[in-house]
Symmetry: C2
Subunit: 274 residues, 2 copies
């Protein structure tokens, strides 16, 4: 391979780092790839750190120690997060998206690669330091945002199901009380999906009473897994008291009735205002 | 802002382009962002095109015409795709992942952000030219790979469900015959999820008889939507004749019995060998 210029090397390096977020690459890895000296690579990394910071493209971090190297985190500043979620809230508020029964239609938001990609980065930013080993969600609507969060954290995604299926193998089932309907439901997870003694971040689309979330916490106890945090795309303002606590939701929802018409009021969560 | 160096500009530009794959950015967009002349930006793009090609990081393409500009596609070469899928097949083959009933456990593969990310790029590479407006999948296990495919194509993801739910609003329901069980099932999609006259790429995790896939095709007809293609992570070798045709699956599965033991034989699909 002919000599690679700094601008080419830097571009390729940033692409490789951002393709595997939160993963530590050793300096030697890049030295070998580009045929460059360690001192040169260090300079490249310093420049890239400036670039990502200047253009709000996340953070390049140097990790010292035996397992050290450089890693990319798609961190979102609190200010950028607030602005983005604020824009989403404005789109979701009003009468147009309210369905009969007072439900809010936002499936399109929950399955948008672009929007869930950014929400995943916002959630990951809050939980990098808790070092989860995997992200847990409950099928179905939270899967996209749970996947993008897992991607940003550089960890696998694990999906709990309503029923155990033949193609999942032996499973742990638990019963939980659905917060919204009050009925007893089953949650199931394949035995081989999770290793005992690891750490989970719970991510889901919607939090109302907290029954399903509480079910996921109980399920993790069955696997001897520590829950390091819980994040939701949307939570309802009422009931104020949920069956779980300490969660971080991105938006809060209340439905107001004005005469015959129902209108959604969607606001960024309080913690985003800090 | 002080003057930005070429190496910084190029790194930032590649990051921005790859964050929104298959989206056309005008040259003026980058001229404004970096305060640089068009000729300078053109040179940057030429250099970036070389870099991405040299390191197998996808393709930078210049699009001419009134709506022209530059776009990034995470294209995967046929050779790289074959090698990657070949590695996956080796991991999935053997006795360890075969469950009672002859099912293969590969939920962990289907929810891995890294693996589904790459599979999404492989599938997108095959369908860029068909210009789908959205990706359609049927809940649940195909959602991650459908999301990453949609991301790579720069289009939304639409998820059909087993039943219509209150929070989806008015929906179109169709009945279909499940290929594997022979039972009649329901598939449902919110009216507002899809615009009439658009184009869909169907992506799902598993193809056996093709009943569910046929159901998705029928569902799209109800919306007056053209199906431009169908892609699956895995299809079974038997039955050879499916209810649909023209699909591209990444892997083919057969279960062999040797005495009491069942073993999975997973191979890259034939079209990857071309």
């Amino acid at each position: 391979m002919e000599k690679i210029r700094r601008n080419e090397r830097m571009s390729a390096m940033l692409k490789i780092l951002t393709d595997s977020p939160n993963r530590i690459f050793t300096l030697s890895h890049f030295c070998d790839l580009f045929g460059a000296a360690k001192s040169t690579m260090s300079e490249d990394i310093d420049l890239l750190r400036e670039v990502t910071s200047t253009f709000g493209l996340g953070k390049l971090e140097t990790v010292t120690g035996a397992a050290g190297g450089v890693r990319y985190r798609g961190s979102v500043s609190r200010e950028d997060a607030r602005e983005y979620i604020g824009g989403l809230c404005a789109n979701l508020s009003g009468t147009e998206r309210v369905l009969p029964g007072g439900f809010l239609y936002y499936s399109d938001v929950l399955s948008s690669p672009e929007i869930t990609g950014y929400m995943g980065r916002i959630i990951a930013t809050e939980y990098f330091d808790t070092e989860p080993d995997f992200v847990l969600t409950m099928e179905t609507k939270g899967i996209p945002v749970a996947l993008t969060t897992a991607f940003a954290l550089g960890v696998p995604l694990v999906i709990a199901r309503h029923n155990s299926r033949a193609y999942e193998g032996s499973a742990v089932n638990i019963n939980y009380v659905s917060g919204s309907s009050g009925t007893i439901q089953t949650m199931s997870l394949a035995r081989r999906a999770v290793r005992e003694g690891t750490r989970a971040l719970i991510v889901d689309d919607f939090l109302k009473g907290g029954g399903t979330a509480k079910g996921m916490v109980d399920l993790m106890h069955e696997f001897n897994v520590t829950v390091v945090g819980m994040a939701f795309v949307m939570e309802t303002a009422a009931p104020e008291k949920k069956r779980i606590s300490g969660e971080k939701s991105l938006m809060s929802l209340s439905i107001r009735r004005i005469g015959d018409e129902a209108s959604a009021v969607v606001k960024p969560a309080d913690w985003l205002e800090d």
